[in-house]
Structures are given as structure tokens and as C-alpha cells.
Symmetry: C2
Subunit: 393 residues, 2 copies
């Protein structure tokens, strides 16, 4: 079950309503506009299909986007990648020696574990509070106690899987710790452009330029199939990433890099972001209302201000993987069980991650009605679940 493919197989079974995968809403992709720019790029840019140096105009456009997030940077600090997952992979190769330490939230995007697996790191974790996020006191205590992680990985906005965003104070403290201990922070900002209330506090990179390595992505704000991301790092780090990317998949612009650049050139992204924020806010609100209506008492959940996920906690005695199996079989509805984000540790057993962006509101309502029924059925079922020992969370 701790295998993404298995979950994806369960979650994509025909007829299953799925909250499992962090999918953006496919019906909101600007397909017509991308079709136009892709055809134009291919017809008018002889270099768009050839090997070449990384795409300078796209770097300049990303510098401008970073300013929307309150981040000042230069083109020399931008390194273009194949999605932000590649940024994690290349930075792990650069920073993390074999068997070195890394520092994660205890509940964290599973891709960062995959990106560091080859180095067989010692993974230090700090508690993740669904309401306030990473325990910065615990980070400080680890560092003060002598821990020297190759990097700390953080998702300050719209955390995956918790949905939580860090307070301004926690951001300042993390930035100060990075400086004091000369510890790089990999700041994953995949969701930072997707906020549903006031503009969020500035990213860590706006507070600390030297020790925060920012990871950006077009996957959630434009389309994952483009596979375009970027990192913002000090120029000497960018220079060292290039041979690593060359070894990984050649440090050359992809057709998608050209397409994204042409799309940005059209000036359509700000309006598209507004559309995404409005529609995703509506879906989040629908999910929160449906949770109140359909979930039995005893289930608790987060109220995300950014991103794509609600994090819910089942009552003691219920196991999320058991629930997933039952929910798919009997109610044809799926979600991601917490174990995935805890690297299989038992503390994740009662949690579930619910994506609110991929389904339209009426399907969200219907799916949570079914999931609420599945939880009740499991609660009422005599036997294994209730007999299992109480779990710590």
C-alpha cells in the first residue's frame, strides 16, 4: 500500500471517485491557448526542437513571477528543471552525501523520500501539527543538539499532505536557523501561488537568500504534463547543478520550456491564476461543508488556506488503509492514507489526505457522502479494527 502505483491503481479504477492524487483540475488547463502557442513555437522557432543552452527568456519570465511571491532574484539564480521533483533530485545529489542526515516533517510529501533514497540518508524528523505545521522548536533543538542535516525540506505554503501554511513567525525563525547553522533549506513552493484568502506571508527565500533554495513548479498552476519547474539558488549552486542535470537527462531546453515561455509571453498567467484561485476556493469550501455534513463526529480535519489538500484524522481504532480498501470496494471512493506520507511509520495510520482540486463541487459532495458512509460502516463493524491496539498520533 506504501506504493504510489498501487494507490494510483486503486484510485483510478473505473467508476471510483478519487480524492487520492494531487491532481490539478484538468478541465481548467488552458488547452486551447497552449495548443496555439505550441503550434506557433514549432512553426516559428527553429531552435525549439534542438539541443541548446537553457532557455534564457524563460529564466527572465520566472524572475518576474518570483517578484509576485515577494522574492527578489536574478536570472543567474534560476535553474530550469523537468518539474520541481527534478529540483529535489538534483539538489539531493549535490548536497547529500551517502548516509548523510536530512531533516523532514514527520508527515511529508513522499517524493522527497524517493529523491533522497539513493543516498540512504539518516532521516531526522520533527512533528507536524495539522494546525500550525512544522515544529520549529524541535528543529532548533535538533540543531542545538548537534544534528547537521545536509538540508531541511519544508513546504511553507499549502503543505503536502497537511494543507497547512506556516506563520510569519515560524518562517522568520526557520530562515534565522538556516543562517545560523549554515543549513540549506529546500523550500518547496509548488502550492504558493494557490491561496484562497489574503496573500500569504512571504516564502522563506524572501527572508534568506543564501541558505534557502527555492523549488518552483508549473505543474499545479499550469499543467503537470508540461514537466517544467525551476529552482532559485545562489549562482555557484546553479553552476554545479548543470553537469548533474546533464548526467540525469541533458541540460537542454525541452519543447515544454519553449511552450511555457511562449504562454507566459502572452500575459495570460495572472488571469489564469485568478481563475484557479476562485475555483479551487469554491471546491475547498464545498469539501469543508461536506465534511461537516457527512463525516461522523470524532473525525477531525484541517482548514487549508492554500494548496490542494485537506488532512483528516480518523477516530481512535480506525485504520486509514483498512478504510481505503473498504471505501473502494463498497462505496467506490478513494483517498490517500497517511501511511504514505509517514514513510510507513505507524503514526500515520489514522490520517487521510483528501485532494479538493481535481473534482468539481458536486462530485466532491457526492464522494464525501460515500466516504462518510464507509467510515460509519467501518465503525459499526465488529472485529479487527476495534480490536487493534490504540495508536499514537
Amino acid at each position: 500500500m506504501n506504493n504510489l502505483r498501487e494507490i494510483m491503481a486503486l484510485a483510478t479504477r473505473p467508476g471510483v471517485l478519487s480524492f487520492a492524487i494531487g491532481l490539478p483540475a484538468a478541465e481548467l488547463f488552458p488547452r486551447e491557448e497552449l495548443a496555439g502557442v505550441a503550434a506557433r513555437v514549432l512553426r516559428t522557432e527553429p531552435s525549439a526542437l534542438q539541443y541548446g543552452l537553457p532557455l534564457q527568456p524563460l529564466k527572465a519570465q520566472i524572475v518576474e513571477m518570483m517578484a509576485w511571491r515577494g522574492v527578489r532574484c536574478t536570472e543567474e539564480q534560476i535553474f530550469l528543471t523537468s518539474g520541481s521533483q527534478q529540483g529535489m533530485d538534483l539538489l539531493s545529489r549535490l548536497l547529500l552525501p551517502q548516509g548523510g542526515q536530512v531533516l523532514f516533517d514527520e508527515a511529508v510529501y513522499d517524493g522527497i523520500r524517493l529523491a533522497t533514497r539513493l543516498q540512504q540518508p539518516e532521516i531526522l524528523t520533527v512533528a507536524s501539527d495539522p494546525a500550525t505545521g512544522m515544529d520549529v522548536d524541535a528543529v532548533e533543538a535538533l540543531l542545538a543538539g548537534g544534528a547537521r542535516p545536509a538540508f531541511l525540506y519544508a513546504i511553507p505554503d499549502g503543505h503536502n499532505p497537511l494543507g497547512v501554511s506556516l506563520s510569519r513567525e515560524k518562517r522568520h525563525r526557520l530562515a534565522a536557523l538556516a543562517r545560523r547553522y549554515r543549513m540549506p533549506i529546500l523550500e518547496d513552493d509548488a502550492y504558493g501561488f494557490l491561496y484562497y484568502g489574503e496573500e500569504p506571508a512571504p516564502p522563506l527565500r524572501a527572508l534568506e537568500e543564501e541558505w534557502v533554495y527555492y523549488l518552483g513548479s508549473f505543474s499545479k498552476i499550469l499543467a503537470p504534463g508540461l514537466r517544467v519547474g525551476w529552482v532559485v539558488v545562489p549562482p555557484p549552486v546553479a553552476a554545479r547543478l548543470s553537469p548533474l542535470k546533464h548526467g540525469a537527462d541533458i541540460d537542454t531546453p525541452s519543447l515544454s520550456h519553449w511552450v511555457v515561455s511562449a504562454y507566459l509571453e502572452s500575459g495570460s498567467l495572472p488571469a489564469h491564476l485568478t481563475t484557479l484561485r476562485e475555483e479551487y476556493r469554491r471546491r475547498r469550501d464545498t469539501m469543508l461543508a461536506a465534511l461537516r455534513e457527512h463525516f461522523p463526529s470524532g473525525v477531525r480535519w484541517s482548514h487549508p488556506g492554500s494548496g490542494m489538500f485537506v488532512w483528516a484524522e480518523l477516530p481512535p481504532g480506525l485504520d486509514a488503509v483498512d478504510l481505503l480498501r473498504a471505501a473502494v470496494e463498497t462505496e467506490r471512493v478513494a483517498f490517500s492514507p497517511g501511511a504514505i506520507f509517514y514513510g510507513g511509520a505507524p503514526q500515520g495510520a489514522r490520517y487521510m489526505r483528501l485532494n479538493f482540486t481535481s473534482l468539481p463541487p458536486e462530485r466532491i459532495e457526492e464522494g464525501l457522502r460515500r466516504l462518510g458512509r464507509a467510515i460509519r460502516a467501518l465503525q459499526e463493524k465488529p472485529g479487527a479494527e476495534l480490536a487493534s491496539p490504540p495508536r499514537l498520533s
Copy 2:
């Protein structure tokens, strides 16, 4: 100089005629057709921009292409990558432990060194004969002597940088050695579809299914900017590559995977391959004729039947890196010095790799006229070059 970026910078200086990079001919990219299919895919395939499972129709199409090369395989044996460089990277992660052994030609595509660098391997090498390629006797002697490389990397057709293709007999011997010693061979077939005479001998994968892992690419036969490649491996190996690709850049189809699949569906690839073979043969013949006409006696070169490169050897006392600097400054012409492919070892000092696919015939003729002048000028120059100690080749 041992840095691809520096060479690319030299070789792409405005006004420099460059034989340095392994570029396919940009003017032959089927841009209009790709523009049509890209726009159609984006307009009609809602999944083309979304996360999803690897693209099954593309796997089926590649199975058919593999049959053109005499290789029988199934869709379960195809793993899709972002260019064949990613195949090298992922297979290195899978097969090569820290500090393990690998076995290369002494002159070899530099990307395989980059793909294995993180594991800090012990690199075993065997001689590369410009006329016959990899020394299979030496491979056998190493294995018989107890060497146990995690894999052998081979380019049986249109070797990069030598241009040579292996004899049928050497292929059978390599396949037999892989079987006998249970040693995976990474067969890089980037150039196998580009032959200029009779159809070449079958790839190693046609001779040995279990121990030969085939690396294919659309970069040279369609366009590098698409970043689409594949590997053909036993199904259990394919299954183990998936989480590695997930950690590297997410194992999801890219827009390019969809575009390539739609292009293949149109049935245009066979005619396009015929066009490439005819035009590249013309360019190769132009290069060989220009070498005879413009290069001083004492320079020797290979006569490739496949691929994109001629490999030339300077007379004793001349250094290819010195020549490159002088040729760019005085004649505005560039090539790749052999040192790149020898991992900096001094045996590479007198060699040069000349790409014959990227320039039209009249530019090839002009470039080699200039390069011949630069060699003569260096030969006639008193001082450093002639005073340097003789080099082994």
C-alpha cells in the same frame, strides 16, 4: 576544456562553423507536422497535460519500431524516459552500487561518465579501435580475470565518438559474455536507425534478451527537444525503474510523449527516416571527400557506416585542444577534442570528433577547408606544440 558547456560556448560563438556537438540537422525536423499533431493532442486529449500512468500506446508503437531493428519485445519490457540519457541515469542508479565497477570503451560518450558519477565507480576500460570498435578480447580477459562490472556500456552502431559499428562476430561474442558472466550490457542504440549502406547487423538485444538492456531515443531520429527515449529491459527491471523515475522527475507521460505517439500514429516516421539516411549519407560523403582534399597528410580518420561522427587522429606532436583554440580564433571553426571522450586521459590528446549531420554539405566543405588550414598553421608553428613530449595513442 573538459566541460561540455565551455566547448558549447566555444562551438556556438557567433560566426563559428561547428562540428563539435552531436546535433541532428535542425532543418530536417518535421516541424510543420509536429506543430499539427501537438495542437491536435492539446485540443483533443484532456489527459495529455495531466499526471498519469506511462503512455501505453507509445509503448506499443515502440514495440513495432524495435521490430524494424530486429528486436522482439513486449510492451511490458518498454520503459519510457526523458531521452536515453535518463535511461543511463536510472539504470546506473539501479545497477551500480557505490564504488562498484563499470566497463566502458576507453573512448566513450561522456554522458555515461556523468550518469555514473554519483556512485564514484571504478571505471574499467578496454581499447577502442577506430576501425573495429570495442576490444572484445580485452572484455573477455577482464571478466576471466575476475572483474565483475555492474554493467558494460556499449554503442554497437555508429559509436559515439568513434563512428564505428561492431562486426556481427563481436556482437555475438559480447552477447555470449553477458550471458556467461550474468553481466548486464547497456546497449546505447541512439544511432542504430541511422545507417548509410546496408542494414547493419542486429543489435545486441536481438541476440540476448535477459542481459542486454537496450537504450533507445527519438533525439537523433525525430528531435532532441522532445526529450523522449525508452529502454527495453526484462519486466522486473522495468518495474524497479518506475520508483526511481518517480524520485527523479515523476514517472508520468510528458506532453512530448503524447506528441511523439501522435506523430508515430500518423505513420510518417519510416519516410522521415529514409530522408534522414539519404541526407546524412550525402553529408558524410561530403565530409570524407573534404577530409581527403583539405587535411594534410598524416591525419587519419574513420569511415562510419552509421551515426553522426567521423573520428580523426592528428599527427604526432599536435594536440587537439591546442588546435581547437587556434581553429576557433583564427579560422572560426570548431570540433570536439578527444580528451572529452577519454575522461581527460592523455591518450585522447590527438583525436578529434567531427559531426557530419548538423551542417549542410557546402558548409561542411567550407569548415573542413578552414580546419585543414588551422592544422597546417599549427604544424608550421615553431615552439610549444612540437616541443611537447610525444603522446601515446
